[in-house]
């Protein structure tokens, strides 16, 4: 299973994504922002970081990178696309996901573990989780405050397109468990077709128990499994 990991100038989680895909038995390959061509690629991942220094708005300039001219049709024809952190911001700017991510409510750069509830498991990104499972994953961002107009929010909730929500240890979406002020504690969303997903927290940083959590592993296993790969075959201790 071939996964293209896109690197923009200023991306800094691309190697983490690459490693995570490899760890679950996928075949990652890098794409520089100026590269073209996604022939034979099964899934695309946009990594975290500060593409183009986050100038103007996070993701606003990356959206016009040459590789995005291939990513957009790839997504529009049903190819799975994942955006993590800055990648989520890029997907929103590109119009592949609704809404926008603005400055955190407290104005601070938040860098901490968060808890998220998995709201759906019938997706290519979450089929290896349990419905309602609470997972612990690191987050690190200054602009993760999810906003959309009322109509869009009603549609997201009505069509069950909120994939992850910030929650407390009991799985409740409370104001205290919301790290950035996101509307309805939204941490990650899906598009209507169900093939494009964006999330602020970093599952690729939760792949090793030595580093604090392995709760990100099922996300990558889900993706590989949904594409017919052999997910989970060699997770433990793999990818050194």
């Amino acid at each position: 299973m071939r996964v293209a990991v896109v690197t923009f100038p200023g991306s800094n989680c691309d190697y983490d994504l690459y490693q995570a895909v490899k760890q679950v038995g996928g075949n990652p390959e890098f794409r520089w922002h100026r590269d073209r061509g996604l022939d034979g690629i099964d899934a695309v991942m946009l990594s975290g970081g500060f593409s183009y220094g986050d100038y103007l708005r996070a993701g606003a300039i990356a959206r016009f990178s040459p590789i995005m001219e291939d990513v957009v049709p790839f997504a529009e024809t049903g190819g799975p696309v994942v955006g993590v952190c800055n990648g989520f911001q890029v997907l929103c700017e590109a119009g592949l996901l609704p809404g926008a991510l603005i400055r955190n409510e407290g104005l601070r750069f938040q860098s901490e573990d968060c808890r998220m509830r998995v709201e759906r498991t019938d997706t290519p990104f979450t089929n290896r989780y349990e419905q309602g499972q609470v997972i612990r994953v690191p987050l690190a961002h200054a602009e993760g405050n999810y906003r959309a107009d009322d109509e869009t929010l009603a549609r997201l909730e009505g069509e069950n397109l909120v994939l992850f929500r910030y929650v407390d240890a009991d799985g409740e979406a409370t104001p205290a468990s919301n790290p950035n002020g996101s509307t309805a504690n939204i941490a990650g969303i899906l598009n209507e077709r169900g093939n494009v997903m964006g999330m602020m927290p970093h599952p690729e940083r939760a792949m090793e128990s030595l580093l604090g959590s392995t709760d990100g592993v099922p996300l990558f296993e889900s993706l590989v499994a949904s594409l017919g790969g052999r997910a989970g075959a060699d997770v433990v201790g793999a990818g050194r």
Binding site: Y55, A60, E93, P98, G99, A142, R147
Partner: protein
């Protein structure tokens, strides 16, 4: 073609939370300006454009705002000023542009933060 200077103002849309405005509002109150009811923070983008006319310059800037300079989900934009560059002597002879026509169009970064 003539050179025009434009000032564009990008502001958070009404109803969109403006965390920076809120923090500044709070700071102003702490400093004693308790009469301040609301603060909104946006950004100013200054452009120099070569265009056939003022209308053309304005139209082009509008497209730039719609496509890149503002995010319609969270921001409104206004083109505050369009004026012909007084130092630009001629029409049409500006193919061979002066040294000052480059390098200033990334001023949008002035209040972009680490993100």
């Amino acid at each position: 073609m003539k050179r025009y200077r434009l000032e564009i103002r990008v502001t958070p849309r009404p109803g969109i939370l403006d965390p920076q405005g809120k923090a500044i509002h709070h700071a102003l109150h702490s400093l004693g300006w308790t009469g301040v009811d609301d603060v909104r923070v946006g950004k100013a983008i200054h452009l120099e454009i070569e265009a056939e006319s003022e209308e053309a310059a304005r139209a082009e800037a509008t497209t730039m705002c719609e496509k890149l300079l503002a995010n319609p989900v969270t921001e409104d934009f206004e083109i505050d000023r369009v004026e012909a560059d007084a130092t630009d002597s001629g029409d049409s002879k500006s193919d061979d542009q002066g040294p000052d026509d480059q390098g200033s169009d990334d001023q949008g970064s002035e209040d972009a933060e680490q993100g």
